[in-house]
């Protein structure tokens, strides 16, 4: 068996844009580690003869025809916005 999986809690928190206290880091690290350990159990199975699957259901080609439906009124769409201006969502300036 491979070595015990270990989660890099700082990286995970950073990727999720969540600030964690030291106590939280410790708590979540061990929780996530145990989840990883559980998933790792699956590696014990021999899956050599099983085809990889992208989806638990074996259904394919679920689609709709190219027809339009009523939109959400702009006012409704903006209803939950903490801040809005000119019918747009106001967000902090972050230039990507």
């Amino acid at each position: 068996m491979s070595e015990k999986p270990h989660i890099d809690i700082d990286k995970v928190a950073d990727l999720a844009r969540i600030a964690l206290t030291d106590a939280e880091k410790e708590k979540f690290s061990s929780q996530l580690d145990s989840i990883l350990g559980y998933i790792d159990k699956l590696n014990e199975l021999d899956t050599g003869h099983v085809e990889p699957t992208a989806h638990p259901h074996s259904i394919e080609n679920v689609w709709r025809e190219d027809r339009t439906e009523a939109e959400l009124p702009t006012s409704e769409a903006l209803k939950n916005a903490p801040k809005q201006r000119q019918n747009m969502f106001v967000v902090p300036k972050v230039v990507e």
Binding site: R64, D66, T68, E71, Q86, F89, K93
Partner: protein, 481 residues
């Protein structure tokens, strides 16, 4: 030391559909902010995406037209990131199983002059995949405003291999993709409307070196000319840096078209970790031969093939084909006429590319709105060939046809352009011209063929331009012999 540039392009092209890629909101440009949104587009809890079949058809068509393999299956993945352009905090895209594999784009480089066809070559593609477009941010000094109208428009990403070496090749690559997409009706590729966007990866290395140099990603290339200029500037900049003995570090730069230079955007790529995983909301897609084949049958003759055929079948000069072919409607218009009078194809091509385009542009009309049909062109060419009117008068008749919608004969009758004299009258004018101009006759008799033109001009003048030079010429000769 000599250096060479290696360039790869990532081209985003919106697929022209009525509704969005995963929901029924309209897809379009020029609407009021946040008018084209619905719960899926806004990423509201409980909403679920459903594939738009037309977006799949569109990318398969694009892929087949660009010589890609279309594998039997593809699937959807989530690309996770935080940025306000995506309210879901992920983009639905295709990570390891794109819908189109490989392929190539045939490009044409500039010829020696505009009258000469340039060299053609193939630029290899890596893949084309489908994803949802994202919202648009408008940056202000204190904050940014987000409009999600563009979000979830079907978007394909065409990824080239690092297979180009100059701004000119990148320009030709984008032009070829644009024309192919327009021909196929997959996209209008209007860069001003964001329907086609390009990022370039550019590196420079000493000639002969196998490994690629450090990669600079160039963004904000907002027009096809911008792509060319931005890349050329960046190649020059990197080459100069290397020649000074400096090293290039991987970074993202942006092209500033107003200043005509590139500037650093961000130095270190924060080793993007998008944590791709299969999207559980969407089912994989299986594509069989029946599907591939009906789409293949929908693909029209592609621009370069049409151009070669026009030069071959109708003996059109390159210059005429290079005006006709980029416009599918115009070239079809030409061909409708040319099929009925293949022997006059060049004349027809000239009327279309000179007279028709000039009148359209002067009157700001489109071909579809104007009154000229292929039959108008055919009637004009026939009148010239029969000798009813001269080529010179035909130019005026064309303008009349364009304005009134009459066929050539009707214009000729109405304006009295038909010769109102017979052959004997022409003979009289010829004799008069000979009698009145002893000097040119001397010249002609002593072997100066061009001297005949002076006499011809006199006869044309006497006939008020209506005589047919092709008939006058031999008549003068026989009178002089």
């Amino acid at each position: 030391m000599e250096y060479e540039a290696v360039i790869g392009l990532e081209v985003h092209v919106q697929i022209k559909t009525e509704s969005k890629i995963f929901s029924g909101s309209r897809a379009g440009y020029g609407y009021e902010p946040n008018e084209l949104v619905d719960p899926v587009v806004m990423g509201l809890p409980g909403s679920l995406p459903v594939m738009n079949k037309a977006a799949l058809d569109g990318i398969i068509k694009a892929g087949l037209a660009l010589n890609c393999d279309i594998p039997d299956t593809c699937k959807w993945d989530r690309k996770n990131y935080f940025y306000p352009d995506s309210p879901n905090n992920y983009q639905i895209t295709q990570y390891d199983q794109p819908i189109c594999d490989g392929g190539f784009v045939e490009i044409e480089l500039e010829g020696e002059t505009r009258a000469v066809m340039g060299e053609h070559r193939k630029v290899a593609l890596t893949r084309i995949h489908l994803e949802n477009d994202v919202g648009k941010l408008n940056h202000f000094s204190e904050d940014s405003l987000v409009d999600y109208n563009r979000a979830f428009t079907p978007l394909m990403e065409i990824v080239s291999e690092p297979d180009m070496h100059s701004g000119e090749e990148a320009f030709a690559f984008l032009t070829a993709i644009r024309q192919t997409m327009i021909y196929c009706g997959v996209s209008d590729c209007d860069m001003e409307k964001g329907q086609m966007r390009a990022d370039a990866n550019i590196s420079v290395r000493p000639v002969g070196q196998k490994e690629l140099g450090a990669k600079i990603e160039l963004k904000n290339l907002n027009s096809i000319t911008g792509v060319k200029n931005g890349i050329e500037y960046e190649i020059k900049r990197q080459t100069q840096e290397l020649k000074k003995g400096r090293t290039i570090t991987q970074a993202t730069w942006r092209w500033d078209a107003d200043q005509g230079r590139t500037e650093l955007m961000r130095e270190k790529e924060d080793a993007h970790d998008y944590r791709y995983f299969p999207d559980p909301d969407l089912m994989p897609v299986r594509i069989d031969d029946e599907w591939r084949n009906w789409i293949r049958a929908e693909i029209p003759e592609l621009p370069f093939d049409k151009q070669r055929r026009f030069m071959d079948e109708y003996a059109l000069p390159y210059t005429i084909t290079s005006v006709l072919v980029p416009d599918r409607v115009l070239s079809d218009f030409f061909e409708t006429a040319a099929k009925q009078a293949p022997q006059s194809a060049q004349a027809l091509g000239n009327y279309v590319t000179n007279d028709l385009l000039r009148e359209l542009s002067e009157s700001s009309q489109s071909l579809a709105d104007c009154r000229i049909t292929p039959d108008h062109l055919l009637s004009l060419v026939a009148a010239v060939e029969k000798g009813t009117i001269t080529k010179q008068i035909a130019k005026d008749v064309f303008v009349e046809m364009f304005n009134s919608g009459e066929l050539a004969e009707a214009v000729i009758d109405r304006k009295g352009l038909k010769p109102d004299f017979d052959e004997d009258q022409v003979k009289v004018w010829c004799q008069e011209a000979i009698d009145e101009n002893p000097r040119p006759i001397e010249d002609f008799k002593s072997g100066n063929e061009k001297a005949l033109n002076a006499l011809l001009g006199q006869v044309m003048k006497k006939s008020r331009g209506k005589a047919n030079p092709q008939a006058v010429n031999p008549m003068l000769r026989s009178l002089l012999s």
